[in-house]
Symmetry: C2
Subunit: 213 residues, 2 copies
Amino acid sequence: MTSEAARPEDARPTRRRPGGRTARIRAQVHDAVLAELGEHGYDGLTMDAVAARAGVHRATVYRRWGDVGGLLADFLDAASDDDWRPPDTASLKGDLAALNREIQDALTARPPIVAALIAASFRSEQADQAQRRLWEDRYARCEVIVGRAVRRGELPPHTDARRLLIAATAPVYHQLVLLRTPPDPHLPDRAARTAALAASAGAFAEPPPDDDA
Amino acid sequence: MTSEAARPEDARPTRRRPGGRTARIRAQVHDAVLAELGEHGYDGLTMDAVAARAGVHRATVYRRWGDVGGLLADFLDAASDDDWRPPDTASLKGDLAALNREIQDALTARPPIVAALIAASFRSEQADQAQRRLWEDRYARCEVIVGRAVRRGELPPHTDARRLLIAATAPVYHQLVLLRTPPDPHLPDRAARTAALAASAGAFAEPPPDDDA
């Protein structure tokens, strides 16, 4: 599944066209969003500051993106317009641990761009929907981790990839985004090992053995 | 661990004294916060509306709580001033599933009070700290689930209770608060079963077997 396939608004005018003026302006505006968000967070993000920083006419920014929610949504959609692939370490536990380290690094980076985008998703309906599209894209790309583990014989063929991936990554998000505990260098590996152990024990087998216990 | 023990600001004047005027005003204000939050969310919560709804002088509300962040923090602190105990179903998996169902119910309740409080914790430093105190209180109270499972012989004696509890509950928070997937009636049980399977496989044994894999 590619990021393009996940996006029904594929035909919109801001679609990336390398070298075109539209694409150039979009890239300048995204760079400005990134810089403003890093310096001031969501609360300090304004259309005018982004336009000024990007060197783009205010009228253009308002016409194309509408408001701060529209800017953030387009910025988030552009984030999946890349060739990111999950780590391949030749073991399920290793892949999940490497993935969790990427997530922990992103959530604790300075300036806290990812944290600011997640916070923004609580404020703007457009940013919320774009954040969900980005997560859907990332989790879909990560399903290859489970496919490889099945082919290596580490997991049974009928393993629910999405549930396994969510179980592996959820503790990292929960601790860093909601509980806001200080980053624990062992957290990515431990959450990965927990999910891999549960997977080996059949926790994500399909169909689930019993939902009424 | 009781909620009082978790609160260093124990001696503050708004401490609950059943029957006292201070306690009565505090309860009225909390009721008003609850109602306003349910109707208007964090963005619509104002000191004046809370004062009017509570039937308390504006000056009193401003003097005692300062601002909306202070109101929310005190509201959250009061939430742990109860005798809540985690469910006791006589099995680890059953206890974790019942706990997860309580969490899912709270996160999907209408009006969305818990969701609004979590959203507020991204906006107000005071609400953030109070939300973290409340979570600390709840997770501390839940450790008895793990103690009971150890006594029943379901788990090894040196099990890291907190890591187990976070692994069990994190998928529910992650899916409902961040990923915002539609509520899945199977989610509480499946997340509980996954954590219980991992626990049986030694995922939360202390000291952890190996952090470098």
